[in-house]
Subunit: 411 residues, 2 copies
C-alpha cells in the first residue's frame, strides 16, 4: 500500500517551524508494515491544489497536515472537497464542541471558527481534544474515470495531531493495511564509533544479502545501523553484529541514551546527580524527559558561575584560580560535590567552553572536561574536544557523559 | 527564481531522524528574496532518480541533501552525474583532505571513502570542514533538448551541512538571485494569545490588502503572526499591530522568548537564577542556549526530590508535608531560596506534575505552580494547567515562566 504525506504550511518552507510530523508518521506506520513512499511540503494557498492532485495519482493513503485552522490561509478542507466534488455541510456537533472548548478555556467564540464546522459529505469527523480544528477522514473513492486515495486531513500543531492520529488514524490504517508484509526493523544505535567503521566492521559483509535492507544514519556522536528483514533472518545475524559492535551498542529498539541509562539505574536501584557548567541544564533535561526519572534522579546543579561551583558543590576556589574552571580538578570536584550533596550513587559533571566566545590557545572553544563520580570507587575524569556550534557542543558533551555512565553500569 | 529542496534518506521517512534542513534553508533564503516553492523527501536508492528528474523540470535551483556518504545506500552523487551525462573523475585533493582528517581524528582510512573523492566533470567541490563527504555544485546546463537547474549536493548531517551552506552555497545563491524582488518578512511572535484571537483583533482587518501576505503559525503557547510586504507598507501597518497585540508580542525578528529575556537582562545588568522541579533542567537549558547567557545566569537547581528542595533551597519541610511539593508555598520557597543562594536579581521556579503518572483529583497531571522572586519586591506565584504529553508540558511550563519574567522586565 503506497502511503504519501503532504505537509501544507508556508511557515514550514519559510523556516519558522521544523516539520516533525514526517518522523512521527514514519515511526507509527512501520509496525503496520507501512512506509512513507514520499513526503512533500507545499506553501498554504493554491499550491495545495497541485500537491493534492499529484498525490491522488500516486498513492493509496494520503496523510495531509495543516490547513484546517480558522484563518484565511487554511484551505486544505475546502480544496479537498472541491477536487473530490463533495459538498460541505455544517456539523452542529462540531460547533457545540468548539463553543464548549472556548467556554472551558475562557476564550471568546470567534465567528471565523464556523469554517471548522464544515464537513465534506461522506467524511468521518475525527474530534480534536486539544484544539478547535477537527480532523477529517475521506475514504477512497472509485469512480469510472478516477480513483482517489484514503485521505486523512489532520491539524498542523503536533500536540493536536498526535492524539488524533493515535486515536482515529492508526486503527483505521491497521485495518487498511491488513495483510501487508510486516518486516522487522532493528536499529542498532551505536555511540563512540563512526559510520564508515560500522560499515567496514560489519555492514559490507551483510550487503547484497537477499531479503535484507541495510541503512545508516549518523548524528552527533551517534550512528544508527538499521537492518530490515524477516525476524528469523535478523535473529540469525544478531550474534555477528553483537560481536563486531557490542561495546558501542546503546540500544536495539530505537531507545536513546538517556532512556537506556534511566532504565538501567532503575533496574539496579541506583541514583544519579548532575553538576553542569557548559551543558547548562541539558543533561538534567535529557534525563528528566524520561518518564519515571524521578525514581533515580533527585538533584541537579547548573553551576555556571565560579562562585556557585564553590558555594554549592564545595569546589575549592583555589583550584579554580589555579587550573581554571575548565579543568580536570574542577570537573572532578563538581562531580564529587554533587554526588555527596545529593547523597547519590553516581554523579556526572561537565565543564567546558561552548563558545562562540571564551576560548584560549590552550583551551580552545569546544574543550570540555567530564567527570563521573561514584559512591564506591574512584572518580573518572576525561577530556573531549567538540569544536562545533553551541547547541551541538551541548549535545555532544551530554552524549559523552551519558555514554560513560552507561558503560560503567554495564561493566 | 524557483527553488526546490530534495531531501534523500530512508531514515527521514522511517522517522529515525527529524528533517531540520528545510527550516534552516527557508530562513537562510528569505533575506535573498528567495523562497522554497516545494520540498520533497524520498528514500535512499532508486527513488532519488525520480525525485531528481521531476525537480529538474520544475525548478531553477535545487538543493539536495544526503546521499553523499561512504556507504552503499548513498547514491545522490552517482545519480546526478548519470542524469546529467557527466563523467565522474577522482579528485586527489579530496583524497588528501579525507586522509588528513582521518589521521587528525585517529580514525583509520577506509577504502569505501574513495567514492567520496569522485567529482562529476564541471562540478565545483565544496570542502567539508566537519566530515569526509565534500559537497558539489553543478551549474545549470542549457542544452538543445533540456535545461537543468543549478544543483547543490550537500551532506546529510546538519553539523556538516550548515557550515558548508554558509561558506559556499549562500554566496553563490546571492549572485544567482541578484535582482530578485526582496520583500520583507516581519514575524510578530506572540505568547499568551490564541491564533483566532490574533486574527479577529487585527488579521481580518489586514486581509485582502494589496501587496500584503498574512500568515499564522501556532505552537505551544506561542503564535507567529507573519506579514510579508514592502518595508514601507510594513512600517505603515506597525502602529495598528502594536496597538492590538502589543502586550503579547515577544519579538518582531524571529527571536525566541529565551533570547529576548537574556538580551533584556544583559541590557539591564540584572541576573537570574532558576529552581526547577517538573521542568527538570529545560528552563536552564533554554537560557544557556543563548550565547552570552553566562553574563546573566550563574546558578540553577534541579530539585526533583523533596529533601533536595529543603537541603538546597531551604524550602521548609513542614510546608512540603502540609501542602505537597506541587503547591503555591513550595513554588514560592523554591524561587526565593534560589534567588537568595545565587544572590541573583530574579529567580524563576517550577513545580508540577509532568506525568504520565503522579496525578491526583485535586492536582491532576498537567498542574504546575510557577514563581518569580525578585530582590526588591514581592514574589509572584501563579498556577497553570497544561494537560498534555511530558515534553510539551515541560515546554509550556518554561514558556509561562519566561514570559512572566519578560513582562516583569518590560514593566
Amino acid at each position: 500500500m503506497i502511503v504519501e504525506v503532504l505537509n501544507t504550511g508556508t511557515e514550514l518552507l519559510l523556516g519558522n517551524v521544523v516539520n516533525s510530523h514526517v518522523a512521527y508518521f514514519g515511526q507509527a506506520l512501520f509496525p503496520l508494515g507501512l512506509r512513507i513512499a514520499r513526503q512533500t511540503t507545499v506553501p498554504d494557498g493554491a499550491a495545495i491544489r497541485n500537491g493534492l492532485i499529484e498525490a491522488f495519482d500516486r498513492c493509496e493513503v494520503l496523510l495531509v497536515t495543516g490547513g484546517l485552522g480558522p484563518t484565511t490561509d487554511d484551505l486544505a478542507r475546502e480544496l479537498c472537497a472541491e477536487l473530490l466534488g463533495l459538498r460541505l455541510v455544517a456539523d452542529d456537533e462540531i460547533l457545540r464542541q468548539i463553543q464548549e472548548r472556548c467556554a472551558r478555556r475562557g476564550f471568546a467564540f470567534q465567528e471565523r471558527m464556523r469554517r471548522q464546522t464544515m464537513v465534506p459529505e461522506g467524511a468521518t469527523v475525527m474530534p480534536n481534544a486539544h484544539g478547535t480544528a477537527p480532523g477529517l477522514y475521506l475514504p477512497a473513492l472509485e469512480r469510472p474515470s478516477s480513483r482517489t486515495p484514503h485521505i486523512f486531513l489532520l491539524p498542523g500543531p503536533p500536540c493536536e495531531l498526535k492524539p488524533m492520529f493515535e486515536t482515529y488514524v492508526l486503527p483505521r490504517l491497521r485495518e487498511l493495511a491488513d495483510g501487508e508484509n510486516v518486516a522487522q526493523c532493528r536499529v542498532y544505535r551505536c555511540v563512540g564509533i563512526g559510520e564508515s567503521m560500522v560499515e567496514s566492521r560489519i555492514g559490507l559483509r551483510l550487503s547484497n544479502m537477499d531479503g535484507l535492507e541495510i541503512g545508516y544514519c549518523a548524528r552527533p556522536n551517534e550512528v544508527d545501523f538499521r537492518l530490515i528483514g524477516s525476524p528469523e533472518l535478523l535473529d540469525e545475524l544478531e550474534p555477528q553484529i553483537l560481536a563486531e559492535l557490542g561495546e558501542f551498542i546503546v540500544s536495539q529498539d530505537g531507545a536513546n541514551l538517556e532512556e537506556v541509562v534511566v532504565a538501567k539505574l532503575r533496574e539496579l536501584g541506583r541514583t544519579l546527580a548532575t553538576a553542569e557548567s557548559c551543558t547548562g541544564g541539558l543533561l538534567a533535561h535529557r534525563i528528566t524527559n524520561v518518564p519515571g526519572a524521578s525514581e533515580i534522579f533527585g538533584a541537579g546543579w547548573v553551576t555556571y558561575a565560579n562562585e556557585i561551583k564553590t558555594a554549592e558543590l564545595g569546589v575549592d576556589a583555589a583550584l579554580i584560580a589555579k587550573h581554571g574552571a575548565v579543568s580536570e580538578p574542577v570537573a572532578r570536584g563538581m562531580a564529587e560535590g554533587a554526588r555527596e550533596q545529593a547523597d547519590a550513587d553516581y554523579a556526572l559533571a561537565t565543564t567546558g567552553i561552548a563558545g562562540p566566545g571564551g576560548g584560549t590557545d590552550e583551551k580552545p572553544v569546544g574543550t570540555v572536561f567530564l567527570a563521573l563520580a561514584e559512591r564506591e570507587g574512584p572518580t573518572m575524569v576525561w577530556r573531549e574536544f567538540f569544536p562545533t556550534d553551541r547547541e551541538t557542543f551541548k549535545q555532544l558533551a551530554t552524549q559523552s557523559a551519558l555514554n560513560a555512565l552507561r558503560k560503567r553500569l554495564d561493566s
